[in-house]
Symmetry: D2
Subunit: 319 residues, 4 copies
């Protein structure tokens, strides 16, 4: 029990994730900061060597300390910047707090409603994720524990921007019904301040092979409901893939890179690490293969596919 | 010895690679097609479930069947398309044959010289990689077994495009000396048809964190030698990272996406799977963080850093 | 793609097995010699670095080149040596051929019937396992493709020794019904030459923790049917556990270590690598914890537990 | 990021150890209780699913909660039981405390000296290993922080039993010099109460293949120094191997299993979980292959092989 040197110990503990059935992604572990189970899901906070602190829900990495800014800047800023004066924002999911944090950097924002189904995840992130402490304490943020569909349906107010920070629309998965044409049409759209309101959602993996899983269908489904739809993507190292988002509105998205940069300077407190005008211009120009799939996608998400899970609540962003 | 069902067998064999010290990337294996050792390096041809046939040199994935087109189209086409009439091409390395294959799709090309140090790798790829059989048999291709530096130095002819398809410039690594300012200045540049000649090289990982390893230095070193230098990148799934290339010339690169598309249609036989004008436009617009590093990079590769390995030959693209 | 030296490649391909839910056992792979699926099971022949060629059925290691002799010498020789003149032997399962090979080393043996359900596994092992070629060609060996229960039931001949080389008696598993009290009573025992006949079976893991899974129950079930029952065990490195066997008869097992050594010399051709008199004496003296469990075991395998899988055939030793 | 169910999370964190170069052993992790580095070695306390709390030194498992009793009962009891009246015991190494704990169960024992080089490991185990709290607090135990060789050399008292609980005698390893013929002859033996004194040492892996690494040489070296030498072994599941110990004296070891059982009852407080007379009888009857190697071993450990590391202290049992 003695042959191998001290270097070994530093690599003896690993977090391992099956990215897909035949593909594994493994991070050396410093420590397991917390392990628990909420009513809806299992949750872990790990300290990993390559990506820092990592939030893992039901065995899938949700967010890693060193690169979550790519995901959250991409989810939040393009939509808010393309709106002329975003004051009220609704987040479906987002319990981690990072989406709220990025929204609250916008000087125009007066009210953020974050609606997550899992109170324990929200409490957990509030306690453990120091980077979002300030956001959780911001009086502009209202945290509601509810199913996002039920919440939107029952509210009377409208929003400038609605943001989907939910798990992917897998058939039989918890969030499928929050990605359907009828949900967008009869629940999301009526809650947007008409004409100028913008909806944006995370849209699953968008890599050269993986974009056919859900990205192209989310894009196509939104195209049935909104006049203008912009898909974009970015490589997120800790996900071992390129990730996608789709932004939709009945008003056109016609800002140049320079105009975006100008608005970022005027409206957003602090420096963004990932996004600027040129970056968004690159992100929203998809590569040939992905662009072709999106243009030719015919599938539309409908409630029929979700019928067996109706009533099952949508738990978490990527869960 | 009997508890687990038949599904397990399909995932019991794995190829595992340490992307970096604390990060592993694992592919389920169908079979190990070949294992061997040449004079310079160990070589394996694996059949993997997520990425098809994979060429592995010294324990590092070089090229995977299902996505090598991203690397090779990106390496070859931008440089050739930006040249007004590329007829003669020199490949430093490239023994796999895929770089030659992409070059030979260009109707303008009359002569391709591929200079690889490792005859056995060339023979191996010729035998095993069916996708490159036609390229290896093309009479326009001349394969030379030699050190690329020595070969370029001793030749009297000049080329329209010189392509670097070599291992990264790691200090003490086999190819460092083929990335230095003096090599570019006194060996590469004189062998380019002056003014219009273009040099392009693979430039290592270009992800949001990994681009500081070598990508930014290659860019900065080439800036010391050529008037116009264009860095670009693309996510290659099997590499679990975004990869980089740098293109350099004393003539400007000023084609629009539309102009590139036009030239692709006119000059390139068959359909490209990854690249087109819009894709290149996106690829060559780097994200904010990467762009900033490149602009502020001050390090230049010089022969001094390579002094201990002078005479050690450069073996293979990524080896 | 170039930081790590040549040593890495030698460990980049791995066979991985879940010994139990939270425990993995991984062998570096030289090559995957064969992968296939029969009517009953998936089958692989791997060439591993630590244990040589390894036969894997449904994702579980069955037998490894360098230590299968421990399993097969332990399964065969104690029973045959304790019989005064073993001439006819019946093997339930055993398609690999190694059990037959060890039996055929006994000079007294005149007839060996091997009854395996899976013709393709038998053919596969015949083709690939050179170590058993001679055994498969031996005219004393009769290979029958049938369910062992049906075969024994329909035969009129009796045997000196019957050997169970089947998968563990997991409820719902393929072989459960070949380990029940009624099977032993009404099928096995009547086919043994009365009084002197000996039955022996592999009996699953027998480690200090794992012996409670099936070893103690097989022992207790056989105690209900035979007057004399001897459990014994041995550490098999490639199984990462101690393995167990149980031998039973209505005649006593009363040979000393010296008497066993004498009979081995007289009766067995060639040198045994694992077993001799002292080894068996050690193997059949179980450690305190295991001994206590066996003495206190009350569970008896009955057909009731197997009712849902009746008619499902028993495929393979450990499958 | 959502395809796989909740079961996955329970297996996403793993401890991984290279048992040997081509063999890995992996435990699912519940948590990493402590990670640190002492002056001599790296140390981890892990909570593993298959084996409970595990102490890992320099990347090698030392001791696992659920089966350390096999190692420590085997190390301590046979030697103390074969002594007619063991009152004073010296432990070389043993900082974990479990060896002292087993010794202190003997009613005859009046004094235990534990001499470990690494104060921080001793303090760590005192704090974290509840199972040894009582032993560490026992007034009969004297803990000394020193090199075992220097300590023994400088002492004037003699002992009834000296126990080696040190890392294996790997050439160039930290403890090699504590396994040499001259160390046994000129330092250990003079500190034993002559004629009746007993020395026992852990002796590395003793599996059917692994026993040639150090077990057979330790045995042969002790045979050069003592009249009676007894090697014995036991399978320790968490080590994925059979482990060995060697006991040596100038008085014969001639107790029957029954006599051992009697002494255990008379002398040892509480119930032993692994060892009793029959177990020791089985453990000390080695299998044929191991017995043959030991009988034919000619290598003797001498100081010459250790010359380059003289002065380097011996840190820990298996380190």
């Amino acid at each position: 029990r003695s042959h191998v040197g001290g270097d070994v110990q530093r690599k003896s503990c690993w977090y391992e994730e099956e990215i897909e059935e035949n593909l594994r992604w493994c991070f050396a572990l410093k420590s397991i900061l917390h392990t628990g189970a909420t009513r809806y899901q299992d949750i872990q906070l790990l300290d990993t060597k390559p990506f820092g602190k990592a939030l893992v829900i039901d065995g899938k990495l949700q967010s890693a300390e060193i690169d979550e800014f790519i995901y959250h800047e991409s989810l939040v800023h393009p939509a808010l910047l393309h709106h002329s004066n975003p004051r009220s924002i609704f987040i479906m999911g987002g319990g981690e707090g990072s989406t709220a944090r990025e929204i609250l950097r916008h000087r125009t924002v007066e009210k953020v409603v974050m609606c997550d189904i899992d109170e324990e995840v929200v409490e957990f992130c509030k306690s453990y994720l120091a980077v979002n402490t300030e956001a959780f304490a911001d009086p502009k943020l209202e945290v509601i524990i509810n199913d996002a569909r039920a919440e939107l349906q029952s509210r009377e107010d409208q929003f400038d921007v609605i943001i989907g920070d939910l798990a992917d629309p897998i058939e039989g998965g918890p969030c499928y019904q929050l990605y359907t044409k009828s949900f967008y049409e009869s629940i999301v759209k009526p809650k947007l301040n008409q004409e100028t309101g913008i909806f944006v959602t995370q849209a699953g993996p968008a890599g050269i092979f993986s974009h056919t899983e859900v990205f192209s269908c989310i894009y196509n489904t939104l195209k049935q409901v909104f006049k203008y739809v912009v898909p974009y993507s970015a490589h997120v190292p800790s996900y071992a893939d390129t990730w996608g988002w789709v932004m939709a509105s009945d008003s056109p998205f016609d800002l140049t890179a320079e105009a975006l940069d100008l608005r970022m300077n005027q409206r957003i407190r602090g420096e963004s690490r990932y996004l600027d005008g040129a970056t968004f211009s690159s992100s929203s120009t998809l590569s040939k293969a992905v662009r072709n799939t999106l243009e030719n996608e015919t599938h539309v998400y409908t409630d029929e596919a979700a019928r067996f899970i109706y009533g099952y609540n949508c738990a978490y962003k990527h869960a």
